[in-house]
Symmetry: C2
Subunit: 192 residues, 2 copies
DNA sequence: CGCGACGTTGATTTGCCTCAACGATTGTGG
DNA sequence: CCACAATCGTTGAGGCAAATCAACGTCGCG
């Protein structure tokens, strides 16, 4: 049973019984209600989170008070303020639950321990990081070269499972446009 | 001597004599002249590059033919089309030499071999990846929340060493604005 | 039912783009 | 070493995508 959980989390990696126990000892479960935040800007970031189920977002608040969504996370995604997590600095982001959510917590310290005990975990996280890097790069390219309408269409195609769970103003804050502009874009699309 | 090179490239990691030889066997040196490209869009990406000296940029060309600079690299930086490099896919970017440039080449295959032979190299590259991830995230936040003028000021503060070596239209294509707009921004700044 | 949150629509503004022309600087061949 | 061309940067006029500001529907829920 717990084997199953571990092989679900760490896909494409197989572990011995001892390794699984090592990992399980370092994972903590936790639940949050819709609307709650599991990390606030300025807090110290010591954890990253694996989403068992639910929906969350990390957002950044700029000096004028506007929120900018950096990442969504649903079942089987990982989430944190990674910039702060990696550098052991204070969070610049807030992580908010958009739905009731269940998570596994793993701390930076425990990660580093596990890397030494189970090197293939480091490979797993390196590859995960490589994928996140690629998706961030894709987003930079999109913001440099695509219109708001193109970015919206690409978003709903890429993340249909997320779109169902979130409000339009979440999408707008992810795309970097206002809710009014998003509304007009949606209208324009349905009119065709 | 060659020890020095290796400890320069892989900062904060120390190696045995055998490890250094393993690494040196996998590194290849190469030079390019200003204006030459070391990777073109649609080519297969098998290498990443460590910059001994010189200046390069990776850029993406959109469907309308506009160039968008994703990354610059100077002495002691690494460069590649990492999205393609990690996934063993064709490049979507072009890497161009802005100055005469000397590089070390290391291939994906050799990297993976070295990861197995010298695990602390995997740690080194994981951490490098974490830093790149953080800087990409910073750029996404900037593009979502800052004006062109703010992004320009931030760029010249963050990368004064790069600014010296490149043309204004390189900066413009990095910031996601036109050369005309950049010119007006620069005028506005000097007028104060 | 009534209130607050969410989404839509219209009018106006604005930041940046486009197009066009023209200086300034750099590079190159005679 | 100059002359000229090419490249690069600046300036102006006009346009457009998206923001802002304001008002008004609509939906869900205590």
């Amino acid at each position: 049973m717990e084997n199953l959980i571990i092989s679900l989390i760490f896909k494409d990696v197989s572990f011995s019984k001892e390794e699984i126990n090592l990992i399980l000892n370092k994972l903590e479960s936790v639940s949050f209600k819709k609307g709650e935040t599991l990390l606030k800007a300025n807090q110290t970031v010591t954890n990253q989170y694996y989403v068992k189920n639910g929906c969350l977002r990390t957002y950044f608040m700029d000096k004028s008070g506007k929120e900018h969504t950096i990442q969504f996370a649903i079942k089987d995604w990982w989430i944190s303020d990674y910039t702060a997590f990696f550098s052991s600095k204070k969070a610049i982001m807030t992580i908010e639950c958009i739905q009731d959510t269940e998570l596994y917590i793993i701390s930076r310290k425990n990660m580093e321990k596990l890397y030494l005990e189970i090197p293939k975990l480091e490979t797993f996280f390196r590859k995960k990081m490589e994928k996140s890097f690629a998706s961030f790069q894709k987003r930079i390219i999109a913001s440099l070269s695509e219109s708001a309408k193109e970015r919206y269409i690409s978003f709903i195609k890429t993340y249909p499972n997320i779109e169902q769970l979130i409000k339009n103003y979440h999408i707008a804050s992810y795309l970097g446009i206002t809710t009014e502009s998003l509304s007009r874009i949606r209208k324009e699309i349905t009119e065709n």
